[in-house]
Symmetry: C4
Subunit: 233 residues, 4 copies
């Protein structure tokens, strides 16, 4: 039974990296694509747009994790890959590098794919998103994400990671003021669409900084509350 962490998959790296690329691309395609659909179909109803966007994202993220969890670990997120390594996940540096490249390129491809499906030009986003509250929101969102993933994994319940992460992100769209990007690859992908889910390049560095800070905080909570134990003999 492969898990999101601590297990080195027997699959060759090219297959795992392909899964990370495809998974991240489809995740961003869902975030951006359902955002465009919501914007087209529910103009001037911001809450309904976000409801449509968040339900589609939460559901698709759950399915994507189910799809690739046994193959690549279904990280789709650089801070998850890095936290996995920091918490003792056993990936080699070469694997980490391949995962990050796959995730970042997948994120950009996903935005382009969504733009194409909706006959929308690929353009840099003009949506400014930085406020103090939003940055705090990203810290909280990312810390919570890391806590959910590794608490479940370390307590032997990796089979619950898919619905828990999907549900968590769906709720975090609402309870964090930033609508919970919580993922550097998704954040960078979302630069490349000037639609509902976009983020302008100038907002991105502070979002990324908040995400790394949140991931570190989350990993600290995991170490504190869910310490690794020696396996019983």
């Amino acid at each position: 039974m492969n898990t999101t962490t601590t297990t080195i998959s027997p699959e060759p790296l090219w297959r795992r990296a392909t899964a990370e690329f495809l998974g991240t691309a489809l995740l961003v395609a869902v975030v951006v694509g359902s955002g465009i659909a919501a914007q087209n179909l529910s103009p001037h109803l911001g809450g309904l747009e976000l409801l449509e966007n968040s339900i589609a994202t939460a559901t698709a993220l759950t399915v994507l994790i189910l799809l690739f969890q046994n193959l690549s670990g279904a990280h789709f997120n650089p801070v998850v890959t890095l936290a996995d390594r920091a918490l003792g996940g056993g990936h080699m540096a070469r694997d980490v590098a391949a995962y990050l490249v796959a995730q970042l390129s997948g994120g950009v491809m996903g935005a382009v794919l969504a733009n194409l499906m909706f006959d929308t030009p690929t353009r840099l986003s003009t949506t400014h998103r930085v406020t103090d509250g939003h940055l705090l929101g990203e810290v909280v969102a990312t810390a919570g994400l890391i806590l959910v993933i590794f608490a479940l994994t370390r307590s032997g319940r990796s089979g619950l990671v898919a619905p828990a992460v999907g549900g968590y992100i769906g709720a975090a769209y609402w309870f964090t003021s930033s609508t919970s990007f919580a993922n550097p690859a998704v954040t960078i992908g979302r630069i490349f669409t000037d639609t509902f889910a976009g983020i302008t390049p100038s907002s991105t560095p502070r979002y990324l900084a908040a995400q790394f800070l949140g991931a570190a905080l989350g990993a600290g909570l995991v170490a504190l509350l869910f310490p690794l134990r020696k396996a019983p003999k």
Copy 2:
């Protein structure tokens, strides 16, 4: 434990074909019926209509797969039946033919049933749906559907196919521009209602072509990423 693929059910063909007929009919009745209800109850709110339609479809599809998975494999979709055979599912040509007939006739019956329940005449749809983006959407939607079904089945998790496929289609209503028909039997059924979920006959051939292309792409990804392995002795 029967699965969506690779297992030949011990049930007689008439019973399996009946399950495919009923399942496809009910699926189309849900798609068309909930579309009519949404249209009646939420006029001029296109996003809310699609939200109502997509939640009802996702939930009902999950239940229908649970209902018939152990009996017929719960394909309800010609490209799933064909991909199953192409990927080594072991159905005989006679079974495949019976499944396709059951699915196509079920799809039409389902539309008629929905029209009857809503006191709506059965008429050919006048809704044109072809754009380049929509056709790309159908390719992506169908490829993803095939990938979800056979990735889970090949990794020994056929018990997750029902919620994963339901959730996937619910999300794909939003993230693909075409609202994800992804099923030739459902597409043909939807010709026979001039309501929210209808599709005009002239749009249908290109939708079907996109679905077959997507199914081939999805089957290729399955073969690449989830190769069949020899069972351990």
Copy 3:
């Protein structure tokens, strides 16, 4: 492992009947109460009202079945109790009678409780609901309900009955034109509230007739598609 059918619970009848009373009362309280809340909070938005009503009902029904399934079988519905007996569930006539009394009185109590919580007088409903399409809707809704419950039970998956029935009813609110009463005890309870979920007494007999017809059709499909098999020795 108790199931919805074919198992006689070791619990005393008074405890099982109390569970049927409480479960049916809470189910009707949810249907009526969430209908009043929806009506108060989303006036003039009929689709949004039904979405709120259907999500609350589907979720609560799932939880109520989980709650009482191991105790009484969690029927909450006279046609389920009768179909259970007809399909060989092994309940004695005395048990059936006690269940029906508990369900019908629970249904009425639930409507009164919802009225009280919302400071609404208990009055007979004035909502006419009979059309040919609606009656066909009730036949389809009830047949499907019986099929879902007993197909899962007969194939050894009673643990899936709770989410499947909840999801099925939530979808049936939308895909059947009648919004899927599918339950004589709930139908009779809903007479006693002149709010969103009410049904006027004169519409009730034809709704009940359609439900009994649907239940018979559903039981026939169960017998045809999911025949009882001898247990392997």
Copy 4:
């Protein structure tokens, strides 16, 4: 397998109390934060606001219980901790005291965190919420919550507590007139935000009284319907 009741976790008290603090804080942050987002994004659409708020709360509560269930029991609620002790859960008085302190302080912190994320000042709420119907709603909501938790735990299905409690609370937002606070720590936390989810201090004592009454009623139903049995040898 730890459960919500009757099991004393092997974890040290500081770790369990931290989990109760964090879980309650995040729960209130979700309730308050998603309420603010709903209010900002869907003004003048009270039903849509509550739908957004209830979906986010139900989903996040499910995830939070999954997260901490094996560590602290995931009570996040003084009446659950007290009912657990009254029903024989085996916690010592010192543990109960630590849990209550953690829950109450967590509740307040969660409201402050949500205010900060949304750049909203922390102020006492001015929302009056007491009516006879609302107090009856709190009694019903809390009784049902206790019944769900301990019925599942006593019947050996503690793995279902997380989705059942999340789903129950999501539905209870709608079917109880009070929108189901059902938790003294959450109620007290919600005093500290003058936004959608707030409750004015003068409404609080009667809400708390109704919750304790409901919890006692729920515990009585648990004792009546789900008596503890001697374990088979």
